[in-house]
């Protein structure tokens, strides 16, 4: 029941990302989103038209209409929906829509005086967009798929109430998520600690956060209890 109510409220919920600057908008993604929305709307309108008028249409017209409405438009929506959905799913507000308690970390990230790694990355535009995703999903398409698969599992656990408290990270943070951007940079190579300890860093024996942490501000445990 709660899922149905939450779904209904998706229509009403305000879209509230930090407004991007004009040159930060990917025009392809915008048009894909418009195309997907337009196709879905057209599908609904045509569907209602078919309910009312299908017996008055000629056989040939009806078949062409069905071909468009039940075959072409759905395939278009499936294709566009996947592309747009996966891109939208990388945004901070998307992550926060399920990870409710992460609001604390997001606020810290946006805090201009915070010295946590997340805040520094955000402030200096090192990860200019999709901040959660940049550090918490592994590199490449496989990383995307794994993150979404894990998200789906978490979603099912959350709505079926089968999760356990206190909520914990499913695995220790991997150095690879830092090294995928930093390892080949001049600044990284300048540090003798990095050069000498590279094998240990790569293997995870020496954690990036051991020296550079904390990644996020500390949060009291009661805030992390999901109110269950």
């Amino acid at each position: 029941m709660s899922a149905v109510v939450a779904w209904l409220f998706c229509f009403l919920a305000p879209v509230q990302p930090v407004a991007p600057l004009p040159y930060e908008i990917d025009p392809v993604l915008v048009w894909l989103q418009r195309l997907a929305l337009g196709s879905a709307l057209t599908g609904i309108v045509l569907g209602l038209f078919l309910v009312l008028a299908r017996r008055r249409l000629g056989e040939t017209s009806l078949k062409w209409l069905c071909m468009g409405q039940f075959v072409l438009l759905p395939l278009l929506v499936v294709a566009m929906g996947n592309i747009v959905g996966l891109q939208q799913a990388k945004k901070v507000e998307f992550c926060q829509s399920c990870h409710l308690t992460m609001g604390f970390f997001v606020r810290d990230m946006e805090d201009a005086s915070s010295q946590t790694l997340a805040a520094l990355h955000y402030r200096h535009r090192w990860s200019p967009e999709d901040q959660c995703y940049a550090c918490h999903a592994s590199y490449g398409l496989f990383g995307d798929v794994r993150a979404k698969w894990k998200g789906l599992q978490d979603f099912l656990k959350y709505y079926s109430g089968t999760y356990e408290l206190p909520v914990q990270m499913h695995a220790p943070y991997r150095n690879g998520e830092c090294l995928k951007c930093h390892e080949r940079t001049p600044k990284f190579a300048e540090s003798e600690y990095h050069v000498e300890g590279l094998a240990e860093i790569r293997s995870g024996a020496l954690g990036c956060l051991d020296c550079h942490g904390p990644a996020h501000a500390e949060q009291v445990i009661s805030e992390n209890a999901h109110g269950r």
Partner: protein, 186 residues
Amino acid sequence: MKTLTVGKQPFAANPWLRVCQGVALVGFLLALNSMWHTTGLSLTLFVMLGLPALLLSAGLTLALLVDDLRKRYSLFDLEQYESGEMIFRQGELADRVYFIQKGEVEVVRAAEGRETLLARLGPGEFFGEMAFFVSDGRRTASVRTATPVELLALGKENFTRLLGAVPAVEKEFALKASERIKAQGR
């Protein structure tokens, strides 16, 4: 002008069309919700319900359209028989007319416990039409294969529609049927 397809219901009356409509509507609504405001819940519902619904709608509609096309344009069914097989028996209700492509068949009639060979037909000839010119619509003789044969079978609906549409063809078939009835009487 309304196009009719012989021997089947109009496409608009197909009950599966309603299923397609319902399933597609669910998929479109979930897609719209997800695209409009992508949250974990809306995206998951789209992926778990919307995508399967839209793909099901597309697959089902394609299957309906292909099936409709097949029925509409496939007037003849190709039937193959081995030698000595019975194609139909005397007294059975007739449902199709046969045109011989390859091989030969024997037309036999049983009466008073005796079987009489009426004709041996080959490629280019047809049989099974007589039942449509007699009152009860039953086979007046049995037909079995004399060799391996390949037949084109035209269903009753299509055959009667053909006769109605082309009077010259009806005349030819009626003439042939009356010749055969006469031959059977001798």
